[in-house]
């Protein structure tokens, strides 16, 4: 059983500084050679102030952005009682309100919204739904990210 007291609990603040090398590193890992992720001049020609982050970049916030503060998703799930080797990713969803560029200083708070027990053919699993609202240093909300992690027992 996961620790249900984490639902709605205030967790450490996520902080993440977007930089060009991390944007390129993600695009390279995915094998995505779209020049707007790699080349400032190409991004500017496309109307951006600088290179732009790929669509799945906000997921880095809850990993790298949580390591210093102990706000990393896996750390939290472990604290709740999950076995890391038994965690699967169920869903990931973003709402976008702007684009991410080098120099953006992101902060956000991850919240455990719900934990739902499901009895499957291979045993019980808990569906942990999370939500985080990410703001730039200006206070502007840039993205809301929701995830469902599946914890198997």
């Amino acid at each position: 059983m996961l620790d249900q007291s984490y639902i709605g609990k205030k967790l450490p603040t996520i902080r993440y500084q977007v930089d060009a090398s991390k944007i390129r590193e993600l695009a390279l890992a995915l094998g995505d050679d779209n020049p707007i992720y790699h080349d400032k001049a190409a991004a500017q020609a496309a109307g951006y102030p600088d290179i732009v982050a790929p669509l799945t970049f906000p997921t880095l916030f809850r990993f790298w952005g949580g390591t210093a503060a102990g706000a990393e998703t896996r750390t939290i799930l472990q604290q709740m009682g999950a076995n890391v080797l038994r965690i699967l990713h169920g869903e990931e969803q973003y709402e976008y309100f702007g684009t991410l560029h080098p120099g953006d200083d992101i902060s956000g708070e991850l919240e455990i919204k719900s934990i739902d027990r499901k009895e499957g053919s291979s045993g019980a699993m808990d569906m942990v739904r999370t939500q985080a609202t990410y703001r730039k240093q200006t206070g502007e909300v840039v993205a809301i990210a929701r995830a469902t992690m599946v914890v198997r027992w």
Partner: protein, 138 residues
């Protein structure tokens, strides 16, 4: 690359598909470093075995990243208003992923002309890995 326009897009239109090179173990190591997701089930063979798989499995976010690549090949990232997927199958090194999609709906919201599209990713045998939707302003 020509960005699609609202008037020339029709419900049911297929989006340009994207077929990726086979996933490699090195790619999973690179994605772990890039993303900060160091769950060993993606990089350490024995951890993959202990997790109930025969070896390492791909981060779901690698597959979603491929889907994101396909979307941003069609529209610009700043046109995308929402993007979500459900992970429906596990991928392993060697899988060759193809991302496809189609237009589900054309509508207006917040003073914008938008399209809602379905996307999915499947391997070379047709086994589906993710299914989802995105909304873009055209």
């Amino acid at each position: 690359m020509t960005t699609p326009t609202f008037d020339t897009i029709n419900v049911g239109d297929a989006l340009p598909s994207l077929t990726k090179a086979a996933i490699t173990e090195v790619q999973l190591v690179r994605y772990s470093g890039a993303s900060g997701d160091f769950n060993p089930i993606h990089t350490v063979h024995q951890a993959g075995v202990e997790s109930g798989n025969n070896g390492v499995i791909t981060h779901g976010m690698v597959i979603m990243g491929f889907v994101g690549q396909m979307i941003a090949n069609w529209v610009r990232p700043d046109q995308v208003r929402s993007f979500g997927v459900r992970f429906t199958g596990i991928s392993r090194p060697g899988d060759e992923i193809t991302v496809s999609g189609k237009v589900l709906e054309k509508f207006e919201a917040d003073g914008e002309q938008r399209v809602r599209c379905e996307v999915e990713a499947a391997d070379q045998t047709g086994h589906r890995k993710v299914k989802g939707e995105f909304v873009a302003a055209l």
